[in-house]
Symmetry: C2
Subunit: 152 residues, 2 copies
DNA sequence: CGCTATTCGTTGAAAATGTCAATGGTTAAG
DNA sequence: CTTAACCATTGACATTTTCAACGAATAGCG
């Protein structure tokens, strides 16, 4: 059975196409199917991967400004504004003017925000497990390790 | 020196963030930086990765219809139309009604199209080498192998 | 054979995302 | 204290995505 999540195309004869050897293509395809799967799960919480990412960073150890979120997530500052408007309207995060530089705003999670993150994280875990199911545990670790090296 | 291609953010303190452990995020970031790098190179030929992908498949062994391109590239049929309009206008490919099913059209490369593909391919190779430079040759192979398993 | 349902490429519109310039408030450098 | 730079924000615009609808062609079935 083929769900919209299923990367299978029924075009097995194309697995030898030259394009299949191109990492750019493979990355794009894997990222595309992976994040639509995650988005489908997160829809239950009315979140998308982009919101989840911001929320995750907000819930982390580091105090981050919008500029830093923008750089780390490779999103235009104006997009961060939009995402934060959503999250703040839902009461998941707060913008606090950085006392050491009143131009910047530090993004802090609220208590409900942390709970939302916990639930979202569980959903993402599920989605990830599903997306990476063709890999062994060792392979998943290796994939993460390699991706981390190229992603930063 | 940090070029727009460079994935480095100068936010090393975030490398331990929980988000960094999420494959969804890593994939998205790697795919994003990877394909913008490739797009930057391909701009020289007035191509984007999406055009390159279609052209590559057209130049392959298999006779593919637009529907098949759409499925394999995970793009809406209407997007394939747009890409083909571009490529056909440039004389790189042709649409030929499939004699066995006159609803479908098979995409065939022209001779200039093949030459264009060859040049584009070289550019993509360069971009890939650059993007994957933090990896050893063995690691690059392994990354491709793992991506192929999750991408299909 | 005819009728109906389905598929294909195409068009067009709407939503989401990406990109970029300009602004007010704030800080840094001199 | 003045000038330049930086931050978040806004608004405009381009690109990409998503979806419904259409004519042409095929497939299934009576």
């Amino acid at each position: 059975m083929s769900t919209p999540t299923d990367p299978s195309t029924g075009l097995e004869r194309l697995l030898e196409a030259e394009l299949t050897a191109e990492p750019v293509f493979l990355m794009a395809r894997a990222a595309s199917t992976g994040s639509s799967a995650a988005n489908r799960r997160l829809a239950e919480l009315d979140l998308k991967v982009r919101h989840y990412s911001v929320l995750a960073l907000a819930c982390g150890e580091e105090q981050l400004t919008q500029r830093e979120l923008s750089q780390f997530l490779v999103l235009d500052p104006s997009q961060i504004v939009a995402i934060l408007d959503d999250l703040e309207r839902r009461g998941a995060v707060e913008r606090r003017t950085d006392p050491r530089d009143r131009r910047s705003k530090i993004i802090a999670p609220t208590e409900p925000g942390r709970e939302l993150y916990a639930r979202a994280r569980a959903l993402v875990e599920t989605s990830t497990a599903e997306s990476l199911s063709p890999l062994s545990p060792g392979e998943r670790e290796e994939l993460s390790r390699l991706l981390r090296k190229v992603a930063f």
